[in-house]
Symmetry: C2
């Protein structure tokens, strides 16, 4: 095997492409990078002798077949909903596939055929999901090998702004897909705590948070992810009393974000009347009761139960949501309008750096002694192209792709990176690139 | 035309069947009542010489065709999702159809063909929708005929327990489909007030309520219905500054119901783990934070921001939600479990009577004078079969069916009861059956 096809040269691809081109020199591989934008693909490849940039339209079935036929392993960086056609072709043409996305039901349905054809369909090998799987499985394996029994596993990830670029009252900027940030928590949350199932409806997710400290990086807060329960099976922790996965923000973010949730401003289920001609101020006012005598600010503070001089209201004001600026979006949902307003303020400056934070906190018992393990990772981006997000997504993907190319990953079918054959070599190679977890264990 | 087919002899049909059988004696009609349960159909028809009871399975296409072919007008009392096959047959076989349900998109799509075939498809002619349309259109027509200009139209309906049977702290029992009560408000609310669009997310619907008084019947509270905006077009009030439709409860209901919403106990979007073996108490506990030292009652009071001795907590306790009683439902959603618990307490006793309350409040200007019109209707049920709900659903349906039979309603296509040809005769006949609005107008 010596030919790799990378589909998609967008924001998450720079490190992936760089890594695989480096390996290509050594291993004598040919790397094709395809993107709808030939410029993007060319920028990724540069003048590397082992690289080829092409304009690639994944909806063009014949081009898809031609390019996939030429490859041994395909890496799909497409949005999750667009993987499926590629996956079908891969199974049919007997080519391995690597993606950073969650396994969809339709992809899962290809498992049997992939097994029959000896095709590896490796998914969830970016940062979250991806790096979380690798590092969690390593911790779980280490503890159970030593004879320990895990009581509680909590795992948090955050895509944040680096301390040196953190200069707004939210301590937050969009370092990744803004839409996912605006819709986070919708549908509510489930997890298990001390053997009891717990459910949090969407409108309570951002008020039931946890404070977490990382040495040298200070305090964070975590809110719960959608479904922690399914990870019991994925991680082989079927009988664990406590399993909780969450997302990290800086302190104060959740309380202020919750105001948008309480207003209904994150709703994506209906289109607002006359959204095109609405101002930011009118957008917020549409969620408040009618009272001709009061300002929108006062009504908002009263409705939300916060002070007119509070930090939370200051955070809202800083975003410009009370301004008479036109929204200018046609037939938009509240979530789309809110995202549009936020993107004016939470955008990255040209010299801003992002930061990926991951934290695992595990309680277990070993030889009658209760123990607490903390493991954390901090990755700071280099610049707006070589971001921490691109690094923590791209390197696990690249390394996994190499392991598939070299035959070290070879179990066919729909796979997650949870077996020793993947996480051991992947974690040790990631270490060389500065993606390294700091682990401490103490008796409690 | 002299043959009517009534499909469905359930809780909403007694008055409809009774009314049409009375008319049948006079007009020499034949009435066929079909239900999956032959017993129910026979109980409805009794030994009336003009009536025929049959066992009827609406999913049996051949029986459907046979029976619809025999009829001139079909009245479908089926659940909303089951009307469509009947409607298709009616259009194809050129038979008129009358229902009490909202017009679905797929039914709306039959409009053109129904018009071509000269078939009347009359919908939304029960109580709400139905009686509300009739009475609203009459008020709107009266005001505009007199030269008045409507500024604000608010309309409320409630299916409640009659004062003589009102003996629980919620002042509420299920007098109709409990599932609709549990899911009410989900998806949020939209309306227009003083020319401004207003949106309320689901988790705020039951805290933004309005108090309303009806002479001799006391105080009610109203919460907003899903979408008031669409009624601007239906009622020909395109430029009205304020339009609001709501549902009535007795005071205190909404504040206590809101506790279930805040907990997440009305969620119908996911199945709870191990619901079969869960107790009422565990059900509530699953929405509360983990704290081994505190009772579920205390955690609930704290979480919900209410006193441990408050009326609201007493209302919850009275429902038995803190009891160690098994739920016993397999793979159930929170909403299904909550409904199950409520049905043990909010059921009608054998001598209970229900009550329908409708209230319209209209502000308009006439000759430079601001005016307020209040129009209300109270209907008390006779017994658990001949309920106020069955009466206010069945009589508008029956009367409309007669008007179709006699050719007074003849405009083909998908119709709502908003034209004078329907509401004038319908309202005057309903008066004879004690369904009568009391109207007062005052200068403001």
């Amino acid at each position: 095997m010596n030919r790799i096809l990378i589909i998609g040269a967008g924001r998450s691809s720079p490190y992936l492409i760089k890594y695989l081109l480096e390996q290509a020199s050594e291993c004598d591989w040919e790397i094709t990078v395809g993107d709808l934008s030939l410029d993007l693909a060319e920028a990724g490849v540069g003048d590397h002798p082992n690289g080829r940039a092409i304009q690639f339209d994944v909806t063009d079935a014949s081009q898809r077949e031609i390019e996939i036929t030429k490859a041994d392993v395909v890496v799909s960086m497409l949005p999750p909903l667009m993987h499926f056609d590629v996956a079908m072709d891969c199974v049919r043409l007997k080519k391995h596939l690597v993606t950073a996305s969650y396994v969809s039901d339709e992809l899962e349905a290809l498992d049997e055929e992939a097994k029959k054809s000896g095709v590896v369909l490796l998914n969830e090998i970016g940062v979250d999901p991806g790096l979380d799987h690798l590092s969690c499985m390593k911790i779980i394996e280490d503890i159970s090998t030593s004879g320990g029994k895990i009581q509680s596993f909590e795992s948090f990830t955050g895509g944040l702004i680096a301390p040196e670029s953190d200069n707004n009252p939210w301590n937050y900027k969009f370092t990744w897909n803004p839409r996912n940030v605006v819709l986070a928590g919708q549908g509510g949350v489930k997890f298990i705590q001390e053997g009891m199932y717990k459910y949090i409806p969407y409108h309570k997710v951002f008020s039931r948070i946890e404070k977490l400290t990382i040495p040298e990086f200070g305090i964070f807060e975590g809110y719960a992810n959608r479904d922690s329960l399914k990870y019991r099976e994925v991680y082989g922790l079927e009988n664990i009393p406590t399993l909780y996965r969450g997302t990290l923000r800086r302190p104060g973010f959740c309380k202020a974000w919750d105001l948008f949730v309480q207003l209904g401003a994150t709703d994506d289920s209906y289109v607002m009347e006359n959204s095109e001609n609405m101002t930011h101020r009118e957008f917020i006012n549409s969620f408040l009761f009618y009272n001709a005598g009061n300002s929108v600010e006062l009504k908002a503070a009263y409705h939300l139960g916060i002070g007119i001089e509070s930090d939370e209201l200051d955070k809202l004001k800083w975003l410009g949501i009370f301004d008479d600026t036109a929204v200018g979006l046609k037939n938009a949902t509240p979530a789309q309008i809110l995202q549009h307003i936020l993107e004016k303020k939470w955008n990255l400056d040209s010299d801003d750096k992002d930061m990926i934070v991951m934290l695992h906190r595990v309680y277990y018992e070993l030889d009658g002694q209760a123990k607490e393990l903390n493991s954390h990772l901090i990755v700071i981006g280099e610049d707006p192209t070589f971001t921490a997000m691109a690094k923590t997504v791209g390197l696990p993907l690249g390394i996994a792709t190499k392991l598939v190319m070299t035959g070290e990953i070879k179990t066919p079918g729909v796979q997650l990176p949870i077996s020793k054959e993947i996480y051991d070599p992947a974690l040790s190679q990631l270490k060389e690139y500065g993606i390294n977890f700091e682990e401490t264990t103490l008796n409690v």
